[in-house]
Amino acid sequence: MPSLRELQTAFVDALFGGEEAAEGKAFHQALTPSTKRCLEVYRNNTYSNFTEALRAVYPVIERLVGAEFFAHAARRYVHDTPSISGDLHRFGATFPEFLAAHPACRELVYLPDTARLEWLMHEAFHAADHAPLDLNRLGAVPPDHYDALRFCLHPTCRLLASAYPIHRIWQVNQADSSETATVDLAEGDVRLLIARTAASVELELVSAAEFAALDALAHEGTLGAAFDRAQDQDTSFDAEQFLRRRVVARTLVDFSH
């Protein structure tokens, strides 16, 4: 008689091993004769639940590669990638890397970054809410001390740089998009800020200098260090205007000394 642990491990191996695999056949010994053939129901449920979770996070990828290839790739990914949480929303974080390594995707060079964008939008959708920055608190700091402040980005903010115009690829592949426009990959590299500072998750194209500043702040750099990084990209970078705009847009929501 198998222990509970042995039985459960064998069950998981049998599901992922497939019906014809040795694991599946060995596990059948643990089942009553009349119910053996219904193990397949659990196999189907498992693949279908995980595939649906991926479809919910990666609708643009599904449109780009087609439903059939997506289902095939998802099945492979589900087989290879253990879910490590009882919360299904956590599943699929490494799907972009899986696509990057998939031979069939080699020619679709923009696919991994588009998938990264969809995952970050999924993260932003579920990330914490936050009140706007307390202007009175900031007003109490003498302006010549600003450089030493460390600003916090809104918890939903994510930064993503890509060699391809993935924001355009995302836009023209929305279910409700009437655009039939093709995207010219030669439009070149982009830097994106993904955030949900109001009701919905928004994509914003930002300059190289602004991206550098936000990236420095996201890594707990001081405002002074962030401005230096931005000036490296663009000597005309206007630090004051950046700070004002990002506070109003709720990109920056808190600070510490």
Binding site: L31, C38, V41, D87, H89, A128, T156
Partner: protein, 288 residues
């Protein structure tokens, strides 16, 4: 700082009433808030609110002001030989503190082995070892959450040769040993009875009346070799008939209409809820 809009006791609806409610899913959020239909309560899947904020929380906060709420888990994996996930329990506890649900439940099943989750409700072998593990986990969860949980009987498609106890005896023993309540899924009783060849009425007759604090109703599909609990159809006629028998035995109990695949317009769910109230006589009781 995480903004937690105030949910003072006065702002939230009360305990779960003994009438029909519906399983609330994202496609119906807006319509439910706008129409405020006359249903007794709503139930949501706890894990759908394990994110830290955003729309799901925003809607649940508003729904909660108008309707009593039940939190129904699908991911605690109480039947695993693995230890319980403290992270999962903490997320659930956070939701309970914030939304003050009338009932909190999960399943007589398991979903993870060796840290790998299947995110499905898998059947347990009904053995003394599994019973001990399950009871220990329910006791640990109730202790951690500081409240009683309800445990739901699952639909199952396979059975193990080495099971030594019947499912109903196993469920009753869990309730007796841990003090947990029972969420009696009448559709699951029917599906499992057909799949494993037991008498659904005998199953109901074996469940003690006092611990049954909630009933679930849903639709199933006919699979190739067994009935499958898909939650994608209206409640079947024989399940309504079994529900009538359950009402006779357990009295008027909070009853939930669940629908999770091919989700229909809200009115279809409301129609099923009204039907449940008619079967149980709950509507007459409310009117009187």
């Amino acid at each position: 700082m995480i903004v937690r809009p105030a949910a003072s006791k006065a702002d939230v609806a009360g305990p779960i009433p003994a009438r029909a409610g519906i399983g609330l899913r994202a496609p119906h959020y807006r319509e439910l808030l706008e129409r405020q239909p006359d249903i007794g309560w709503v139930e949501v899947h706890s894990e759908n609110y394990f994110g830290e904020g955003g729309q799901p929380h925003w809607f649940l906060e508003r729904v909660r002001r108008d309707y009593p709420l039940s939190l129904h888990g699908v991911g605690l994996s109480l039947g695993s030989a693995d230890p319980l996930s403290v992270e999962h329990l903490s997320s659930l506890k956070g939701l309970i503190e914030r939304f003050e649900p009338g009932l909190v439940s999960d399943h007589l099943s398991w979903s993870a082995a060796g840290g790998r989750y299947l995110n499905d409700l898998l059947p347990l072998p009904y053995t003394e070892e599994a019973l001990q593990v399950f009871c220990d986990h329910v006791a640990q969860a109730q202790e951690f959450l500081g409240r009683r949980m309800l445990i739901e009987n699952p639909s199952s498609y396979v059975a193990y040769r080495h099971s030594t106890i019947s499912e109903r005896e196993f469920l009753c023993a869990v309730a007796e040993r841990t003090g947990c309540g029972i969420l009696l899924d009448v559709n699951n009783v029917y599906v499992s009875a057909m799949n494993h060849g037991f008498d659904p009425l005998a199953y109901l007759a074996a469940i003690p009346v006092a611990p049954v604090a909630e009933i679930h109703l849903a639709g199933f599909d006919q699979g190739q070799h067994c009935l499958i609990d898909t939650h994608g159809k209206p409640v079947a006629e024989p399940v309504w008939a079994l529900y009538a028998e359950a009402v006779k035995r357990f009295g008027s109990v909070p009853t939930l209409i669940e629908w999770d695949t091919d989700i229909p317009p809200l009115d279809v769910l409301l129609g099923e809820a009204a039907k449940a109230d008619a079967w149980s006589g709950a509507r007459d009781a409310v009117a009187a």
